[in-house]
Symmetry: C2
């Protein structure tokens, strides 16, 4: 009786092992890209703009859209986001639009700055830019 239930348990485990492997492989495929995006070695290029007085809302929207479109034009960009100021404390020093450009490492930013698509964006931006703030850093947790 003991032998028989041990054999049954062993057979049960052997049947389930490939199922576990399949399910965890699937889970790893689905969830790994999201986990990877949070790795601690990202290099960040944080940029704030203050536009010149009189820059139209339409022009600001065009500039934001052109900046965000760089993600599909420059391979080195691993992530790109932006936001308008929603400051609670008035410590944004006149800056109204910020962008956070992420790269795998500093070499990514070095490839981005002279990239023709970035230079084309700068030509669109420049006539409307009053001030810019830039802070580049290796993200540490």
């Amino acid at each position: 009786m003991i032998d028989s239930s041990a054999r049954f348990a062993k057979g049960f485990r052997m049947k389930l092992t490939p199922l576990f492997v399949a399910i965890f492989s699937f889970a790893a495929l689905v969830f790994a890209p999201a986990a990877h995006a949070e790795e601690t070695t990202a290099f960040r290029h944080f940029v704030s703009f203050q536009f010149k007085d009189g820059t139209s809302e339409a022009k600001k929207t065009e500039i934001v859209d052109a900046f965000m479109a760089l993600k599909s034009k420059i391979d080195a960009i691993s992530d790109l986001e932006w936001g308008g100021t929603e400051n609670i404390e008035p410590l944004n020093d006149g800056f109204t639009h910020s962008f956070l450009v992420s790269f795998k490492d500093k070499a990514g930013l070095e490839a981005y700055l002279p990239h023709p698509a970035h230079e084309e964006f700068v030509r669109l931006l420049k006539p409307h830019l009053e001030r810019v703030y830039v802070f580049d850093y290796t993200a540490k947790k």
Copy 2:
């Protein structure tokens, strides 16, 4: 024979269903926090410091460590990272240390600012702070 194998298949499915539920619940618990941190609705609190002349490196390290320790003290913080300037373009306006504090939404920042642990940190920082820059935004992709 058909009836018998259908009964077997039904029994097999019924035995396995709780197993599937258990495994996927476990996978969701393990992987969901990483996936969550990358959602597009994050609210960001970006902060740059310029320290007063004469602030020792030991004091700067103490301040960085105290800031980073807020992650374990304030539940509203979903992510926290920092870095020293590695600017390629000299557009960081004298700021040398930046911190990116992430929340689920703006209510998170509203809970963070008056939190006793944050107020204690500000008391440590203030005597050594020359200037601060803050930009709060909803991250849009």
